[in-house]
């Protein structure tokens, strides 16, 4: 699992598009909601918006329609009532004229007699008696004075006022006078002239209290309902009545046509006013707005309820659909997490053929691939592990063999050498007399070469040991060990004239004994190859080149040809003849191996007979933690 985690850690982090980043904070809250919440919310809000708009539009339409309908009906009602009143007024005029004729009013006015008066009185009484509402009938003479009267006694109107009731352009057949207040009631008058040879000699006047006719009330109720109110009044002033009491109707309601006004009781009302033909009156039919709007309000209440129900239902359906949709998604998520955690997941069972089903099947394919890939990878890793183990075993075996070999070399190779040397000496010691000078010379060669071989074996062992043992690193005081190597070499060459210089050196990181060996070998070489110089100079110091510390050991010895420089550090490679300078050819190979194992580099710079400088680098002390 840790391997997978490591692979995953190497995956590049996807870059976030700046646009996405900008909107992130705004979308953050929304994005945190799960799909199961978002879809129902969206559906609910959309339904709410759509149905809300529709409801608002419909409500407006319903209101307008209700108003229009009410206005139409009010108009119809007002018109019908006004027609009724007109008809009634004409009837009154006709009846009054008839009564005037029957009562011989003109004759009575010309020649008032008891007989005429009795006729007049009986006709008037009969006229009054037929009426169901309080009524008075008066006969005025030419001076507008009352000469006869029947019925209830209304207050007396002065003759001046009576004259004013009859406008100069009054209808010659009769006049209908505007309403007048009489206490808490409205009273109107119908006046017909009484002619005598085309001259008006007086007037027959009917005064009557305004009352609701049963016919009008029934018609009104039938037309627009009980809530409707019928108003009757003068076109020119505010004296109006609803037939039971006097009301005041504002100017706004008094103009002909439809209007809307606030009633004295504070309620708003729709009103339609119509002038009554042949009279100075108007009829208004009104209706409280609240009642007109009742269907609209009822519609609104129902629609809002439906709206809430619909939105909630939509949201619920959305939630159900979302559950259906997200269940496979949740399974996918769980499976993906399982794959991430363990590399395998059971396939997702789906019989769906929609996008979600396709996604599930794609996922199953991918999961198979991942599992197989992981298995392949694990196979490869196992194979690699196995190979590493094999190699390690082989290496350990080889190392062990090398160890045993070194041990054998160390022990078994030296023993015969020692025997050869020893018995050669014994030959010289014990049998000197029997040996010729030539034989002794041969034995010297044997002795010399045996020693050389002993040295060779020692150097080789040192060299091979360097490759096998792990380094024990630490800070190394380079100045101290350089000085120590120089002093040691100087002591063994005390008979020679040698100038040695050791400059202070920066510390390095490495194994102290091995770095010491490097200085020892380089200094010994320097001493060796300066043997032919009258005054040898050996110098140890350092340079800093490209930020890198270069330690060097410099001599003024015989040097060497740089074209052989590449052979300098090979085992058994020598650039000088053994007769001139002894050596096994391993010393610089040891130096090279030590420096390489420390991660440094060693090289030389020399000219034939011009001395040599050996440079090497080591890790800096601070490079180690």
């Amino acid at each position: 699992m840790s391997r997978i985690a490591r692979y995953r850690a190497r995956l590049p982090v996807p870059a976030i598009h700046p646009l996405c980043r900008r909107n992130w904070s705004e979308m953050h809250r929304w994005n945190r909601l799960s799909l199961a919440a978002k879809l129902p919310l969206t559906i609910g809000i959309l339904l709410l918006l759509a149905c809300g708009t529709m409801t608002a539009v419909t409500y407006r339409y319903v209101r307008t329609s209700a108003t229009d309908l009410a206005v139409d009906r009010l108009e119809l009602a007002a018109t019908r009532v006004s027609e009724l009143i007109t008809q009634s007024a004409r009837t009154r005029l006709a009846q009054l004229q008839l009564a005037a004729g029957r009562a011989s009013a003109a004759e009575y006015l010309r020649r008032p007699s008891e007989g005429q008066r009795a006729v007049l009185t009986s006709v008037l009484a009969e006229y009054v008696g037929k009426s169901q509402t309080p009524v008075a009938v008066e006969l005025w003479d030419a001076e507008y004075r009352t000469v006869a009267q029947a019925g209830v006694a209304f207050e007396t109107v002065p003759p001046g006022t009576r004259r004013a009731w009859l406008a100069p352009d009054a209808n010659p057949r009769g006049t209908i006078v505007p309403f007048r207040r009489s206490g808490e009631r409205l009273v109107y008058a119908v006046i017909v002239p009484v002619y005598e040879d085309e001259y008006v000699v007086g007037h027959l006047v009917e005064r009557r209290v305004v009352a609701q006719s049963g016919q009008a009330a029934a018609m009104l109720t039938g037309l627009i309902g009980e809530e409707a109110v019928l108003l009757l009044g003068n076109a020119r002033d505010e004296i109006w009545t609803d037939t039971t009491r006097i009301v005041s109707l504002p100017d706004a309601a008094r103009s002909s046509g439809a209007a809307r006004y606030r009633r004295a009781d504070g309620a708003e009302a729709l009103v339609h006013t119509v002038a009554v033909a042949d009279t100075p009156w108007m009829v208004a039919a009104e209706f409280p707005v609240a009642i007109v709007m009742r269907p609209a309000t009822r519609f609104l209440r129902t629609a809002l309820g439906a709206l809430v129900l619909l939105s909630a239902g939509g949201a619920f359906v959305g939630w159900v659909v979302c559950q259906r949709m997200t269940t496979p998604l949740r399974q996918l998520t769980a499976a993906a997490e399982a794959i991430a955690a363990s590399g395998t997941a059971p396939p997702i069972a789906t019989s769906r053929v929609d996008e979600v089903g396709r996604l599930a099947r794609s996922f199953n394919t991918m999961a198979d691939e991942v599992t197989q890939g992981r298995q392949r990878l694990e196979g490869v890793v196992a194979e690699l592990d196995r190979r590493v183990r094999e190699r390690t075993t082989a290496l350990e075996q080889a190392n062990g063999e090398l160890e045993a070999f070194s041990y054998s070399v160390s022990h078994d190779l030296r023993a015969p050498l020692r025997a050869i040397d020893g018995f050669g000496r014994i030959l010289v010691e014990d049998h000197a007399a029997e040996l010729s000078a030539e034989a002794r010379k041969c034995l010297d060669v044997i002795n010399h070469r045996t020693k050389h071989m002993g040295q060779l074996i020692d150097d080789l062992l040192t060299f091979s040991r360097l490759g096998r043992h792990p380094l024990t690193r630490g800070p190394v005081d380079m100045t101290a060990i350089a000085r120590s190597s120089m002093d040691e070499a100087a002591r063994s060459n005390a008979h020679r004239l040698i100038s040695t210089v050791v400059h202070p050196l920066p510390s390095a990181d490495g194994e102290r004994s091995l770095v010491g060996q490097v200085f020892e070998n380089l200094v010994q070489n320097a001493f060796k190859f300066t043997r032919t110089r009258a005054t040898a100079v050996v110098e140890i110091g350092h340079e800093v080149r490209d930020g890198l510390v270069l330690y060097y050991v410099r001599d003024n010895g015989v040097g060497f040809d740089m074209q052989y420089a590449d052979k300098l550090f090979g085992v058994f490679q020598r650039l000088h003849r053994a007769e001139d300078f002894e050596g096994t050819g391993v010393g610089l190979a040891i130096v090279d191996r030590i420096i390489r194992r420390h991660g440094g580099r060693v090289w030389a710079d020399a000219t034939v007979d011009g001395g040599a400088t050996f440079y090497f680098t080591l890790p800096e002390e601070s490079s180690r933690r």
Partner: protein, 139 residues
């Protein structure tokens, strides 16, 4: 142990040449006549068990049958023999050998020089030191 025991040096060495060279080196100091030579580790242990403690044991490490280090371990873990000075005389310059030998209680470790003169000097000096200069415990 017994005063009658003439042997002062037990030399454990499987190589006849090295044995001969060692004897020659010891003879330089007249120490060769009281040397007993054991040709392997088992023989050395048998000798020590049967004949008692010499003044010093010169012990090679690479031996047939029982190795020198094993002989050393047995000697140093035997209360009776523990005080016997053991000088390792070997060709091995290997650091592990040296360290193990001292861990097991070796009294000295000499790498046999290849050069005859040096060899003679090393062995005879060691013999002289352990036989004549070194003071063993009295009991």
């Amino acid at each position: 142990m017994s005063a009658a025991n003439e042997v002062e040096i037990l030399l454990v060495e499987d190589s006849p040449e090295d044995a001969a060279l060692t004897m020659r080196a010891l003879s330089r100091r007249n120490l060769a006549n009281r040397v007993h030579l054991a040709r392997d580790g088992a023989e050395a242990l048998t000798y020590l068990r049967d004949m008692g403690k010499p003044k010093v044991m010169l012990l090679d490490l690479k031996l047939p049958k029982v190795t020198g280090l094993e002989v050393l371990r047995q000697v140093k873990s035997d209360p009776r023999l523990r005080s016997l000075p053991v000088v390792i005389l070997t060709s091995s310059r290997e650091e592990p050998d040296i360290a193990t030998a001292y861990d097991l209680g070796a009294n000295s470790y000499i790498v046999k020089p290849v050069d005859f003169e040096q060899f003679v000097r090393a062995v005879s000096d060691a013999g002289l030191y352990w036989l004549l200069i070194n003071q063993p415990p009295q009991h």
